[in-house]
Symmetry: D3
Subunit: 227 residues, 6 copies
């Protein structure tokens, strides 16, 4: 086995080691900037991190979150998630930030769940219809909380709830979101249910959604194409 | 305002107070049995709990988890969740248990998410097809892990993943599940997406699922009827 | 004792009870909107919260974060912190958001510490010089990480570190910050050290800062005036 | 030093790295299946885990928990603990499951403590006398909560309490237990007190238990033989 | 129901509410001094605490930990635990301190477990034999770590392990211990096993400890007398 | 790259891996003694730790905390922090201990913050003036809690608050402190503000402290010299 491979594993381990901090109730050091190769690393307070002597202000910086992203896709939206891999100084601090662009007339950030984070969305430009659905609350079912949001509005999507944003205006929309995890995770309902690989058996989905198997086949064919 | 109402609020507060323990990283006392009325309660180690002098072994006991439940409903399944309200001694200990009955030939515990717990399912009787779908993993999409389970099989559904069980045999099936939270929460995908109150707007759902609005209307009408 | 006073206490308890959730490692319910009076409250999943039937989308909304605030004060800056008291739906979700306005030519968000949160700052308008200082790292002392930030830059201030932002341009600056706690707390170094009530004894401060007692007296007189 | 040994260490580190997740308040990924050798591993969301492409449903499966185990030993009981080493998919999810077999007429799961987990026991077959003892509660001492359990009964043993189960019937008994930790730990009171290696000095034990040193010597000789 | 009783319940709730903080991973406020009656309390940052205006330095002070305590009892030792009830300012900070006095020639702090804390013991005066026993480690059993400690020695008893201290010198001994919980809990092995109320059945204990039932009866009679 | 270097990295990783435990809400093993080289290590319950077979009571022992340290320095104080690097058995248990010596007539442990721990200080010898300052409490500013402490007094400094101790007597003073973290961290206000490397720009500090730039220059020159 080559030294290079060994190094790669060690590198992975290095990352594994300090990322294990990301949700610790309290930190064990001021910060722990990610390293790509362990030969960049030193022993800082019992944790493998980039040598503080080598850490620069740029390790805590991400640039260009104000730059529009293309929304030329099927859903007409584009999510740019800034996490520890794009912003190494974020590592182990349990928070991340995202920019979302929405195309005019129907740009949609489709219904999805962040299994590991609450989202706080701030509208920077445009007008959105946004909302979330609760879990099955006894004697109440699944309650939907939806609202039109304008520039300067801040809206909360509690952790684990199905939520979406939809551009209902003729101008593009932009939002900045912050999430209470270094890796919130995304479960897009349609894609996870009908686009999984391998697909969930048609008899399960047709019974669950009370759909004609032909409709389930159609849905699966659409989502198998990917977003 | 009547003394009764005040008592009720105080009672609610009592419950609120100790349930706040349920996910504490460590406990502050041996146990804290739930009380319905604060006049049953005493100050035990800084927490309002049932008076330990009044606590009986029955407070830690739930009976009849071996009794079959009716599966005579649309999905052909029945989930009996034993949580702190049915088993007061479970309070503040961060774990719960459930029995699931499945009707022969297609009893389905429809695709759902527990936003706050990992589930460990043990098959007691029968044969199930069970599985879960991952979140959107880069370059991999949503991977489905499905498998036929027989009596004596133990299967894991990681926290926050869409999962289901489906009875593929001609005999009833029974499973015992344990969940890593006192209140796992349930988000049934179909009901939460198409059965919310008020409903999510048709244009959002038809774009998200790429369905003819008529199909969305049909789905909403079905799920608005409830399970 | 009047029913009103009792209610007030119960009200405080209600708040106390669910705020106890704010830093729980996992939630026990979808959300728990704050209530001002327990007679607005009901028992939702073992927690005293606003009745979900009464919860509206507005409970998850804060408006006007895009509106400029006055920076006509001694430091030439203005921090608007949106926490659970301004945005009840944020309650128990462990995250908050802030807007900071900086006057042209030297508007300063003076050196301070958030003892309970990491801050992620996004520059919306203008140009800032920002930075933080590490704790006493062996063989390295207190390292300062400072940088000029422009519109679209995102910068991280790790939890517990002394940090500041300073407007070095001739135009006003605006930033949106997110903090990984429902109540980050603020310790402004100058005010906490020289402006405490009662003041720290002059001999302690003059020795700690190696300043002539007269200078300490001057500093205390300035900071006793408040910001 | 041989490449093989290096690999072994790296392998251990791999395991160490992701196991560090087991009690994290929230996860950083959907799952993290254990790997035996780092060359099976890839970088998945900052954690060293089995390559999701290689993960199979079998990684989440344990079979045969319905098979009886031999109770032909001194205590007449047999505990089969299914943890992450037997069921890799359990890794980092903070829950484990066990099967306990009890011989007829006195099969005993002797008094023990799980220092890191609450146990929820479900009786599958037979009749048990089970109970636990509280810690030293002021003005109450150590309260014992004991009860006869029959098939279908669920009983709770709170974390850190001394507890046991005893078969009082003429038929074998079987229980399925779930524990709120990936590694609950077991402290069997008799063995830990009188069977430690090296033994605790006789004068300490004879004073602590107010026993004749000869009786302590006898107890130590019995427990030094192991279970 | 009398206003006094209502107040009492409210008072209990007050205590319950903020004590719920004791093990939170991070605090939500600087401090939260305990209150005995809610009419002493105010709303401080979403938590019911003593009014900060009324908080005095004395709330953070405990005096007399240097004063010897009587060791004139059966075990010849005396533990003074300073927790949030003796030192209200400790409330919600997750740490406590204790003084232990040991009589000459055999003063014993009998084998016990703190289910909720690691203990760090510092010998202030005298000479102790101290140690702890591990849980059942595979292929190793229960390992005992014992050592003679002299003035100025610091020794660690990991959370949940059986441990003790024994005065082996002809002079009194004194130790200061710190524990990583606001309420560590104490399970004294002998008292919990043989002195519980009601007693554990003799057949269980005689089998578990392989003792003649007569010896178990004797032990129970001794421990039923209490310490 | 030499095998030695690889080993070093692996060693760092080993340390990194288990230190990741230090603030876990619950442990996954009895203890995990630190290792300097992975070839000393074995796989113990999914964590890389010193081989329990090789662990000795000395791994849990630190000696000489009763020995006076020199206070012959500018501040006239000396802090000896006993953490996991001096006492390997402390590793992963989330607590540390310190001895502080104070010179007569003005020995000062200068105002500082522990960003990651609450401190409980016990006066062993002498007389101290000690106190802490709160964060900016609305309508109250920064409240100072100061008090004269004598031998046998225990005082609490809540996590994240600026605090100090000052010897006001003509005899030396000694204190034993315990901190609720394996690595509390220290931010000495004067040194962090005026002694950082590189220094914070004079215009920021002169505005923040409302000091003549000359005074800031003087302060920076003093603190650049180090303690």
């Amino acid at each position: 086995m080559s030294a290079h491979k060994i190094l790669t594993f060690v590198g992975l381990l290095a990352i594994a080691s300090y990322v294990a901090y990301a949700t610790d109730p309290t930190q064990l050091q001021d910060f722990c900037v990610g390293v790509n190769h362990p030969h960049d690393a030193v022993f800082v307070n019992g944790l493998l991190c980039k040598n503080p002597m080598d850490v620069t202000p740029e390790d805590f910086l991400f640039q260009g979150i104000d730059e529009p992203r293309s929304t030329n896709n099927r859903m007409g939206s584009n999510v740019t998630l800034v996490n520890a891999s794009l912003l190494p100084g974020l590592n182990a601090l349990g928070i991340s930030v995202a920019r979302v662009d929405y195309a005019p007339y129907g740009g949609l950030n489709a219904p999805h769940i962040h299994p590991r984070a609450t989202e706080v969305l701030t509208v920077i430009e445009g007008t959105l219809f946004a909302g979330f659905v609760t879990s099955n609350i006894p004697n109440m079912g699944n309650k939907f909380f939806g609202r039109i949001l304008k520039k300067g509005d801040v809206f909360v999507f509690p952790q684990g709830m199905i939520h979406f944003q939809f551009n209902i205006a003729k101008t593009p929309a932009v939002a900045i979101s912050h999430l209470s995890s270094q890796n919130p995770g995304v479960i897009t309902i349609g894609a996870a249910t009908f686009g999984s690989k391998p697909p969930i058996s048609v008899d399960v989905l047709s019974k669950a959604f009370q759909l004609n198997p032909k409709v389930v086949n159609y849905l699966q064919s659409r989502f198998q194409m990917g977003p």
